[in-house]
């Protein structure tokens, strides 16, 4: 291996029981580079990084840092070696202040030099120092444009600020290698750009970065080299400049990926959903849906575009009976279901893919089998005797969903908790559950958010297949490419009202974007190509 390698990973393997999360992974990271780590959800990226950060102990293999073999028993060991990590789900304590979060675990005392005598140890435990760390944090924040008030509580911060705290927390620990685990997953495009600038600045000053993502354009924009993981194996490490996005996608998924799906024209028939004058309030009792009329026909995909928080969630929840209506009527296939319960909507043939998979899409601690069955367990299919459930049948049914929809990471359908599946695979399981019951109406809220390219393609294809079977689909999405690709009709929602009805042929991303952000028709001509945004 080259001598300028900061980190070398050799034959690193991690098994959980019979499942091999990472299989003999070997790669190296050069000092001062941004090294991309690309892979689908569940490919083993996060497990690999957790081993580098001391959270998981490897089953076998070696980690070398600056040429020396390392054994990390805890994150503390990794930090002491010079490795920092910003986790995908932030590791911050909301009740504590920014400064407390950053300093946590460092045991700062009033004397700047670290010493090891008993007295010093006592002092490091039973006193604390805040002024010097505050100065240091402020200095770091100023240097790298990571502005955030050290004395505000973390729960008061927005997502972008929280991420800046995470980066500060890592930098505060004097690290040489920073691991960023899907750092843009929760950021808006502007926040992402801002973070990219910070990362470049850090690298200019000598930091080495491992950048984990499943977004191809980020790899292209940010990294020097990229290692691709697939099914726990390291497929290849390449210079980013030498590959195209299509090649990367193929390396990652193992087959050609279609970025655009062929969509056949489908005859539109009778309406399955007719809703009129819908009004509803959000969780804070503020009106968020202000008199909306909506019709979805058999075999039609209606896309709802809008900036998050303009009433999409409330609309979706009203249409499954989960959120009380203040006013308005809902008919499913001609049957009035105004003020009906969620169960009545389920029985009427309405399926639902919620926005928050872990919160509303599954019972995370229950098995895949339980989750797969929880819209169908009341049907005759799983009746055993008169009062009992046919568990064998349910397990077989769950297995058929898992196989049919390519849900990965399931060891045993009756044992593996749904919450342990990766985001994309859980989403496939939810889609499987909702679609296998052959619904008349499918309401899908952000079905492809946070899911990797391969799974996105799968999910879109599944929706198109379902449409061909005559299901009416209401697709709420923030991804305009997706809406333009699969919808038959597109409605733009703005502050709880539809402000535009159009079709993909008649509109453009730019026009939709203007309606989404202003609620009005564009007043100026579209600019040229917008660079750097989008996948």
């Amino acid at each position: 291996m080259s001598t300028d390698a900061l980190l070398e990973v050799e034959n690193l393997t991690k098994r959980f029981g019979d499942v091999v999360a990472d299989d003999e992974v070997t790669f190296s990271v050069r000092e001062g580079e941004i090294h991309g780590l690309l892979g689908e959800n569940g490919a083993g990226k996060s497990v690999l990084m957790k081993m580098l950060y001391g959270l998981y102990s490897p089953t076998s293999g070696t980690i070398r840092f600056r040429g020396d073999p390392q054994q990390f028993d805890s994150p503390k060991d990794a930090i002491d070696t010079g490795i920092g990590m910003v986790h995908q789900h932030f590791k911050l304590i909301p009740r504590m202040t920014v400064l407390e979060n950053i300093v946590l675990g460092e045991r700062e005392t009033s004397s700047p030099e670290s010493a090891t005598g008993f007295g010093d140890r006592f002092r490091s435990l039973f006193t604390r120092e805040r002024d010097r760390p505050r100065e240091r944090v402020t200095e770091l924040a100023d240097t790298y444009g990571l502005d955030v008030d050290p004395d505000s509580k973390v729960w008061e911060l927005d997502i972008g600020e929280q991420q800046r705290v995470e980066i500060l927390k890592a930098l505060y620990r004097d690290i040489d290698l920073l691991i960023l685990d899907e750092p843009t997953a929760v950021l808006t495009p502007n926040e992402s750009q801002r973070m990219f600038e910070t990362i470049r600045q850090l690298v200019d000053e000598g930091l080495t970065v491992i950048f984990i993502t499943h977004k191809l354009w980020e790899i292209e924009q940010m990294t020097d080299r990229v290692s691709v993981l697939r099914d726990g194996e390291l497929v290849e490490t390449v210079e980013t400049d030498d590959v195209t996005q299509a090649e990367l996608a193929e390396l990652m998924v193992g087959r050609d990926v279609l970025f655009r799906l062929e969509k056949d024209a489908v005859d539109v028939r009778a309406p399955v959903l007719e809703a009129s004058g819908l009004r509803a309030e959000d969780d804070r009792d503020i009106e968020s849906l202000s008199g909306v009329d909506l019709t979805v026909h058999e075999g039609e995909i209606v896309g709802i575009a809008g900036v998050s928080g303009n009433g999409q969630r409330e609309l979706a929840e009203c249409l499954i009976g989960f959120r009380p209506l203040e006013d308005g009527e809902i008919e499913i296939k001609g049957e009035t279901l105004t003020d009906a319960t969620p169960r009545e909507f389920v029985d009427a043939g309405v399926s639902f893919v919620p926005e928050d998979r872990y919160e509303h899409g599954c019972a995370a601690d229950l098995s895949v089998m339980h989750n797969a069955g929880y819209k169908t367990y009341r049907t005759e299919k799983f009746e055993s005797g008169r009062y009992f459930l046919d568990y064998g049948g349910m397990a077989a049914y769950a297995s058929s969903l898992v196989d049919g929809f390519d849900v990965r990471g399931v060891v045993d359908v009756t044992r593996t908790p749904a919450g342990e599946l990766s985001g994309g695979n859980l989403q496939k399981l939810i889609l499987a559950r909702e679609m296998r019951r052959d619904p008349d109406l499918l309401i899908a809220n952000q079905p492809t958010r946070g899911v990797d390219v391969g799974a996105i393609e799968n999910i879109r294809r599944l929706m198109l297949d379902q449409q061909e079977d005559g299901t009416g689909i209401l697709l709420l999405s923030e991804d305009l490419d997706e809406l333009l690709d699969v919808s038959d009709r597109i409605l733009v929602i703005y502050e709880g009202e539809f402000v535009l009805e159009t079709t993909p042929e008649e509109t453009s991303k730019w026009e939709l974007g203007m309606y989404m952000s202003t609620g009005e028709a564009p007043t100026q001509e579209p600019p040229g190509e917008i660079a750097g945004v989008g996948e």
């Binding site: 503390k76 304590i93 504590m96 946590l104 675990g105 460092e106 604390r128």
Partner: protein, 322 residues
């Protein structure tokens, strides 16, 4: 001694075991580990302290032995809950039953034993202050110690690095772990410390209050300490206030003996009601009723978070499965 001064004195002395036990419990719970075994640990502390004093002839050594006994039971809880990740509620109740059973069995031989225990330390002049003088300045070393633990524990939890780490572990052990905090060591230390405090609380009862050992002599004070922590919403100063409040009720039930009502405004019906309310056994339920009232009041509009409970209380942490 006037009735008021007597009540004040009893209140301060009855608050001591509650304060000590609740201080320990608050430390353990703030690290995320509920220990419902306080009653059992207190009994162990009471018996071991008493026996230790008789054997060694020194109340201080006895007191230390009592603390050790509490810590020993707490260690069992720590191993079960932190290392083996069993249910904290089940393990805690088991600990109370175990402590009760063991002390009943081994305590038989010590019933009727005689010690002089901790004597009063009377501070001249100050103890002559009306009503509270005697209560605050003529008490045992252990009572002074209990009062001293309040600011010390407060400082420990809120003004030290280790205190911040304890809070972090109780809020979110995974986050604390990724910040380099030794989660398991801290939880062990906190649970053990909780045991030391509970043992001290029990030893105070037998060495500084009754000067004898009796089966199940804690009489539910361990449970009151657990309730007190909830009542105080995990805040140190409220534990102090709550301990005095509960102790005052206890003192009142001691002193009045259910006889107040006879003279109550000459109204027979009212007297019956008042007699019921001041019945010592009824009064012993007041701490629990007060705790329920606090829970009801807070939870009516909020959630557990607003109650002040550490976010990861009751949730065992293990690193390799998220």
């Amino acid at each position: 001694m006037s009735l008021a001064a007597g009540l004040a004195e009893s209140t301060v002395r009855l608050a001591t075991p509650l304060l000590l036990a609740a201080m320990g419990e608050i430390i353990a719970e703030r690290s995320g580990v509920l220990n419902l075994g306080v009653e059992g640990m207190m009994l162990a502390g009471a018996l071991a302290g008493f026996a230790g004093t008789i054997v060694t002839g020194s109340a201080w050594i006895g007191f230390l032995i009592g603390m050790g006994a509490g810590a020993l039971l707490a260690l069992l809880h720590a191993v079960l809950c932190i290392s083996l990740k069993t249910d904290q509620v089940v393990s805690g109740i088991m600990l109370t039953l175990l402590g009760t059973g063991l002390t009943t069995y081994f305590g038989r031989g010590w019933v009727g034993g005689d010690i002089s225990g901790f004597g009063r330390i009377t501070i001249p002049v100050l103890s002559d202050i009306p009503i509270i003088g005697f209560a605050l300045f003529s008490i045992t070393a252990l009572d002074y110690l209990a009062l001293l633990t309040v600011p010390v524990v407060w400082y420990f939890l809120f003004r030290t690095n280790i205190g911040a780490e304890i809070t972090a572990v109780g809020e979110d052990p995974e986050t604390a772990d990724t910040a380099g905090v030794p989660v398991f060591k801290i939880q062990y230390a906190c649970v053990l410390l909780g045991g030391v405090f509970a043992g001290a609380a029990g030893a105070q009862l037998s060495l500084g209050f009754t000067n004898f050992w009796a089966t199940e002599m804690t009489a539910g004070r361990g449970w009151i300490a657990v309730a007190l922590v909830i009542f105080a919403q995990w805040q140190i100063w409220r534990v102090l206030a709550g301990a005095y409040f509960f102790a005052a009720i206890d003192a009142l039930s001691f002193r009045t003996g259910g006889s107040v009502g006879d003279v109550f405004l000459g109204q027979e019906a009212l007297a019956t009601v008042v007699n019921f309310l001041v019945n010592p056994q009824v009064m012993q339920t007041y701490p629990y009723i007060a705790t329920i009232a606090v829970l009801w009041y807070v939870m009516r509009q909020g959630n557990l978070n607003e109650l002040g409970a550490p976010s990861s209380l009751l949730k065992p942490y293990s690193r390799e499965q998220d």
